[in-house]
Symmetry: C2
Subunit: 477 residues, 2 copies
Amino acid sequence: MALIGQQTLNHQLSLFNDLISPVSVAVIGASPDRTKIGNAVLENLVNQGFKGKIYPVNPSYEEILKIKCYPDILSVPGKVDLAVIALPAKIAPTVLEQCVKKEVSFVIIVAGGFSELGDEGRKLELSLKDKLKGTKTRLIGPNTVGVLFPHSNVNTALTPGDRIWFPKEGHIGFISQSGALGLLVMDAISGNGTGISGFVNIGNRADVDEEDLMEMFLDHEETKSIVAYLESIANGERFFKTLRRVNMEKPVVILKTGRTRESSAAASFHTGAMASDDRVMNGVLRQMGVVRAYNEVELIDFGKAFAYALPLQGKRIAVLTTAGGVGVLTTDLLTEENERPSLAMAKFSDEEIAELKKHALPIASLNNPIDLTADGSTEAYAAILEILSGSDNVDGIIAYALPQTPKIDSSVVQHIITASKKKTTIVGIIGNRLTQDLMLEFEKNLIPAYPSIERTVASMKALYLRNTYMRRIVHEQ
Amino acid sequence: MALIGQQTLNHQLSLFNDLISPVSVAVIGASPDRTKIGNAVLENLVNQGFKGKIYPVNPSYEEILKIKCYPDILSVPGKVDLAVIALPAKIAPTVLEQCVKKEVSFVIIVAGGFSELGDEGRKLELSLKDKLKGTKTRLIGPNTVGVLFPHSNVNTALTPGDRIWFPKEGHIGFISQSGALGLLVMDAISGNGTGISGFVNIGNRADVDEEDLMEMFLDHEETKSIVAYLESIANGERFFKTLRRVNMEKPVVILKTGRTRESSAAASFHTGAMASDDRVMNGVLRQMGVVRAYNEVELIDFGKAFAYALPLQGKRIAVLTTAGGVGVLTTDLLTEENERPSLAMAKFSDEEIAELKKHALPIASLNNPIDLTADGSTEAYAAILEILSGSDNVDGIIAYALPQTPKIDSSVVQHIITASKKKTTIVGIIGNRLTQDLMLEFEKNLIPAYPSIERTVASMKALYLRNTYMRRIVHEQ
C-alpha cells in the first residue's frame, strides 16, 4: 500500500501541481467593471496575495487593476499554468481551444449553460470535451465557482471578496459539486478560523472529477483529511475504487445528497445528473470505511476532527466539564445509539479515582463525566486532564472549555494541547464573547473544537466510526 | 379552556408578579469583594438597569457600590419582594427564617451543599422546607444560579457580567434544572440577539418547581413559548397534568436528559434526583403533544420557532434559495424520516408555475426547491415570496437569506417579514460577516432564522410535530 501511495504521489504531484501551486494565472474575460465575474476573479487573485504572474486577458483594455492586459491567451508571453475563462458559455469552446493551443495546464470555465440546461447545453459541453482530447490540458467545470488554494494564495472564486470571507490555509481538502454551497460553507467556517488546504468546485465535471481531486488531495502534503459534497457520482465503479484506496491513507468524509426520492429529483434539476439509490450508497460507503456526514456542518466538523485529532482507538470516553448539565447532556448523546453508534463512558480504576480526588474540590463529581463545578480551577482542570490523557482506561477525552467561570482562564488551551498530543481529544465550547477567542486559539493550534454539545459528541463518534471501519478492513485483508 | 386560562391568569399574576417584576430586591450577603458571589449578584442587578429599590444586606458595610447597606433583612425598610441569599448553606435556614418573618415574597438561595450532597444536605434542605410551611414566602433553589427577567431588568445571576452575555428581552420562557447549562446557553444565544422573557434555574427545587414555573410563564404575557431543560421530574403525575394543560395554550419544548442508563446515573450525581424510564417519558410527551428537543441548541431553536412563527397547518413546504446545493440538501433533510417525521415538498399549480416564471431568470429552477441561482435578484426573490405566501398549495416556507451574491440586498429581510405574516416562514442563513447583521435583523423582527440547513429544517419539523399533535388531541376531545 505504502509503495503504491509513493508512486501515486510522484505521478500526481507533477500532474496537479500547476493547479495547486501555479506560477502563472490568466483571467480570460478580466474586466474593470465591478459587476462582472471577470472582475471578481481577478480581484480575488490579486487581493488574496497571489505571488505568481497574473495575466488579465481582454481585447478592450490595455491594463486592468494596473496589470498589463492581453488581447487573447495566445498573446500572453511564456507558460500559463492556470487560465480562468470568465466568458459566456457560447464562446467557451473557442477560447478553450486557444488555451489548448497555448498548452495551458489547467483551464477553469466559470459559465453555466451546459449539460445542466438540457440537450443543447449537453452538445456544447461535448464540444468542450472534444477540444481536450489527446491534449495535456485539464478542465475544471464548466459551471464552477472556481478553486481556492490558500497555501499558494490561489483564489479564483467568482464572488467578490467584500461579500464573503475565504478560509485561511489549513488541512482540510474540500471538494464540492455545488459551487454556492461550497462558498457559503467556506464563508461560515472562516468566522471560527477554520482553514482549508484547498477547495475545488467540480461543477459539471466535463473533465476533472471527484476521483481526480481525491487523488490530488491524497498526494497533497498539506491535506490531512478530504471532505466532499456530492449530489451524484459520475462513474460508480471508478469512484468507489478510488475512494476506498484514498480513504485507507487519508480520511474522507462524504456528504451525499439525493438521499430521498424528492431530493434526488432536486439534484437532477440542479446539476443535471441522476442520483443513485441511497441504500446502496450507504452500504458501500460503510464497506469502504468512509464516514458519512448528513449536513454541511457535519461535513467540515468531521473533516476537522480527522485532520486534527489522533485516531480514536476504542470507545471509552472520559468527559471533563465545569458545568454539570453539560456533562449529563454529553453522556446522553454519547451513550445513545442513533444513526451513529453509542460510545461508552470510561471507568476509572480505584487508583485513578484516588489520584483525581487529590485535585478536585470535595463537591466535584469524579464519576465520569467529571464535573469540577463552577468552582473548578484551571490548575485542577490541568491536573485532571493529565491523569485522563495518561490513563489506560480512556480512549478519548471530551474536554469542555468554558471560560465563563472566574477560576478558569485561557491557559486551559495550553493544557488541552498537551493532553491532545497523548490522547484523542475533542473540545466543546458553549458561549459567545469569551468563547470566540478561545475557538480561534484552538483552531490555530489544530485542536478540534465545536460550539455545541451535539457537534462535539458527533465528531467523537465520527472518529470512532472510522476506527471500527478501519479495524474491520485491516482484519479482512 | 379559555375560561380556566383566564382564572389561572389572575391568580398566577398576583402570585408570581413579585418575582417577575419586583419593586424591591434585597441581596443578602452582598459584598464589595469582586471574587464573591454576593458581589456578582448585586452588580448584575445594578448593571442590568433594575429600576426598583435595591437593598444590599451585610452587617460589615455601611454601603456597597454606593448603595446603602443594611445589617440584616429585618432592618430593611418597607416591603421586600425578592431576596437573594448569597451566603453559605449552613446559615441559609436561619436567614430564610428572617426572610419569612419579613414576609419577603420570593427568596433565592444560591448556595449548593444541600440534597445533591447526600443525607446531611438533605436534612439541611428539609429544614428550609420547614421554615416555609404555612407562610406565603416562596423559595427558588437552593443550589441555583438565579433568575433573569429582562423586561423588568431583573438579573440575579451569580456569574459576573464581564464573563457572560445576558439575553435581551424576548418571548421565550426558559426553565433550567442545571444552572451552568442555562447560563452558557443564554451566553450563546445572546450573540445572535435572541431574547428571553425570563429564566429560572430551579436548582434543587425545594419549593418552586418546574410546574410552578410553567404556570407562571403560561400567564406571563410576554412569554410566547416555554422551554425547559430537565434531568428529572419531581412529581410525575403533577408534572404531566400541568404540562398538558400549559402546552395546550403555549407551546412547551422539553429537553429531558437521563435518556440512557449512563446519563441517568450522571444526572443523579449532578442534582441528586433519579431519572425516569425514557421510553415512558417519550410516549407520554408525545401523547401530551409536547415537542422534545435532544440538545441545548434545539431547545432554543424550537422555542424560537414556536414563539415567532405562525403555526404550521400542514406538511407541504416550499423552499426558496439562491444556492442550488442548499436547496438539494434542504430537500434531503425535509423529506427524510429520522427521529422526526418527513415533510412534503409543496407542488405548485400550473397557474402558479406560470406566475413564478414571470419573475425568475430562464436558468432558475422553478421546481420546488426554487433556485433563483446566484443571478437571482432581490426583486425576483420578493415577487416569488409573495406568490408562495399566497399559495393554497403551500403550508410553510423555508426562505434562505444568502446575501453573499451581489444582487441580493438586505431588503430581503423586509420581504420575508411580509411573507411571514401570511404564511409560516422559517429562514436559513449560512455564512459569516454579512449574515451576522442579517441574523440580528431577523431576531429584532421576530423571524425565526437559523445558521445551518439542519437547524432550519429541524425547526420546521418541530412546528409540524406540534401541529399534528394538537390536531389529534383536539380531535380526541
